[in-house]
């Protein structure tokens, strides 16, 4: 059981290291046609004035679902660690 956990952590760690070595330099894609598309078309297509909210909740809504799931899982793990039964 300990060996399974250790190997899993090693594999995930190596994967993250590989991903980190292949990141772009900071600020490298300076501007792309996607940015202009967002600025020009977000208000008509989504009806929202706030382009950031339109991107987070409309164009990239599934990523926000992943974010909400991560928050939920974190709170659940902390409840398991610190809670007594299910009481707060």
């Amino acid at each position: 059981m300990k060996r399974i956990g250790l190997s899993a952590i090693t594999i995930v760690g190596l994967f993250l290291l590989y991903a980190m070595l292949h990141l772009h330099p900071v600020g490298e894609p300076n501007s792309s046609p996607m940015d202009d598309y967002f600025i020009l078309n977000a208000q008509e297509e989504t009806g929202a004035n706030n382009v950031v909210s339109a991107i987070v909740f409309d164009y990239r809504g599934y990523d926000t679902l992943g974010e909400a799931s991560i928050l939920f899982t974190t709170v659940m793990c902390i409840t398991l660690l610190f809670g007594r039964g299910l009481r707060i």
């Binding site: 208000q43 989504t46 009806g47 929202a48 004035n49 706030n50 950031v52 909210s53 339109a54 987070v56 909740f57 409309d58 809504g61 599934y62 926000t64 679902l65 909400a68 799931s69 928050l71 939920f72 974190t74 709170v75 902390i78 409840t79 610190f82 809670g83 299910l86 009481r87 707060i88």
Partner: protein
């Protein structure tokens, strides 16, 4: 945690309604001004943490009825998933009532600045706000227990 002095308690009591209204403003006007569900939820959750510091942790949990907090968090995430599934079917059902109501401002000639012009975005923000408030408050209240040790 032990409560702080009566002066601090009364001053916080002045601040609580305004901070909650500000948090609700950030949540509900997510598509019109800088804000959103995450930001407004963090404001209200930090207010609950401040109440836990000032009034004492046990008094605050009795006041806020924290046994409902896990349920509110679940409802928030489920509401977000449900709204996302409903919004995905909008191409199949273009006259879905809920989002037509939320967009009726556009048909009546309101320009983009009215509250009811953005479709499902305010409701998604509300669901996220439920989850953030309940989740962050739960973490604070779980970690803030204390025990009084009487020394001889």
């Amino acid at each position: 945690m032990r409560p702080m002095s009566i002066l601090v308690q009364e001053l916080l009591r002045l601040l609580v309604p305004f901070t909650i209204v500000f948090g609700l403003y950030l949540i509900s006007h997510s598509h019109l001004s800088p804000g959103g569900g995450f930001q407004g939820g963090a404001v209200i959750a930090s207010l609950f943490a401040l109440m836990a510091v000032v009034y004492g942790r046990d008094h605050t949990t009795a006041l806020l009825q924290t046994k409902w907090l896990p349920w509110i968090e679940n409802v928030g995430l489920l509401m977000y998933v449900g709204l996302l599934l409903i919004a995905s079917t909008t191409l199949l059902f273009p006259r879905l009532v809920a989002f037509q109501i939320a967009r009726y401002g556009l048909e009546y000639g309101y320009t983009h600045g009215h509250l009811f012009t953005a479709g499902p975005i305010p409701f998604l923000n509300l669901a996220i706000a439920f989850e953030v408030v309940a989740g962050l408050s739960m973490v604070v209240f779980l970690m803030a227990r204390s025990k009084v040790v009487m020394e001889k």
